[in-house]
């Protein structure tokens, strides 16, 4: 009887410890709104113009647009890598 009691106590105590802990994970963060904007198409020069200054203006705007878009893509990569690192740190 005593042996049965001791065995039961051991089984009952160790039986509970086989329960696994809860899995808590962090939710993936929202992307900053500026990164969600699509890059616009390049501007077109007015087909009727013959002025070099008009063409240069449009080209200048297009260059700026390219650099803004490039910066957005670079920031996307930077944002993703940073968030991935943070996300993996709590796994």
């Amino acid at each position: 009887m005593k042996k049965l009691l001791v065995a039961s106590l051991i089984v009952f105590l160790s039986g509970c410890s086989s329960v696994t802990g809860p899995k808590m994970t962090m939710s993936w963060p929202d992307t900053p709104p500026d990164l969600k904007t699509a890059c616009p198409d390049l501007n077109q020069v007015d087909a009727s113009t013959t002025k070099l200054s008009d063409a240069l203006n449009v080209i200048t705007v297009n260059y700026s647009q390219y650099y803004i878009c490039k910066d957005r893509v670079d920031n996307w990569i930077d944002w993703y890598n940073t968030q991935q690192k943070i996300f993996n740190s709590v796994k």
């Binding site: 009691l5 039961s8 106590l9 009952f12 105590l13 160790s14 039986g15 509970c16 410890s17 329960v19 802990g21 809860p22 808590m24 994970t25 962090m26 963060p29 929202d30 900053p32 500026d34 990164l35 699509a38 890059c39 616009p40 198409d41 390049l42 501007n43 077109q44 020069v45 007015d46 087909a47 009727s48 113009t49 013959t50 002025k51 070099l52 200054s53 063409a55 240069l56 203006n57 080209i59 200048t60 705007v61 297009n62 260059y63 700026s64 650099y67 803004i68 910066d71 957005r72 920031n75 930077d78 944002w79 940073t82 968030q83 943070i86 996300f87 740190s89 709590v90």
Partner: protein
């Protein structure tokens, strides 16, 4: 609903209660064993002993459960703290990137304005010296067109 209520009640009971009940039941078990030697009390002892035995097992089981729950609660708290730190870091990273975007966009825009001003300064001179053939504009616009179609 019932399981939630049960969880709340059992979860709020102190851990020390279970070994106390187990100990008390063990005492009752041995007392029942002793009084079982007296013929007058033997029927009571026969009833009390299995009840005490089940009570010992039940409370040991609950003690084990409470121990595991304490460990899990500690793990949850630790994980919650880690998540809170990570969420703060994530939020800070978002703010930093947002600030970087605004600053860099301003620099790019300002540079554009500077060059537009420069064009304005020499506008008359370059327009007088050079007339663009419409064919050149067509080629330039064709090259600027997205070959994959318009952006959605």
């Amino acid at each position: 609903m019932f399981s939630w209520l049960l969880e709340q009640v059992l979860g709020n009971l102190p851990t020390w209660l279970w070994p106390t009940i187990a100990g008390g039941s063990a005492v009752v078990y041995f007392l029942a064993h002793i009084i079982g030697n007296f013929p007058n009390f033997k029927p009571y002892a026969l009833f009390i002993k299995p009840v005490a035995f089940v009570s010992i097992l039940g409370s040991v089981f609950m003690f084990g459960g409470a121990g595991v729950t304490d460990i899990l609660q500690a793990q949850i708290k630790e994980q919650e703290a880690k998540i809170a730190v990570a969420q703060q870091a994530s939020s800070d990273a978002n703010t930093n990137i947002q600030t970087k975007i605004v600053t860099k966009t301003k620099v790019i825009h300002d540079t554009q304005v500077v060059y537009q001003e420069k064009i304005k300064e020499v506008e008359k001179k370059i327009d007088a010296d050079c007339k663009i053939d419409p064919e050149a504009i067509t080629i330039l616009n064709g090259a600027a067109k997205n070959p994959l179609g318009a952006t959605k």
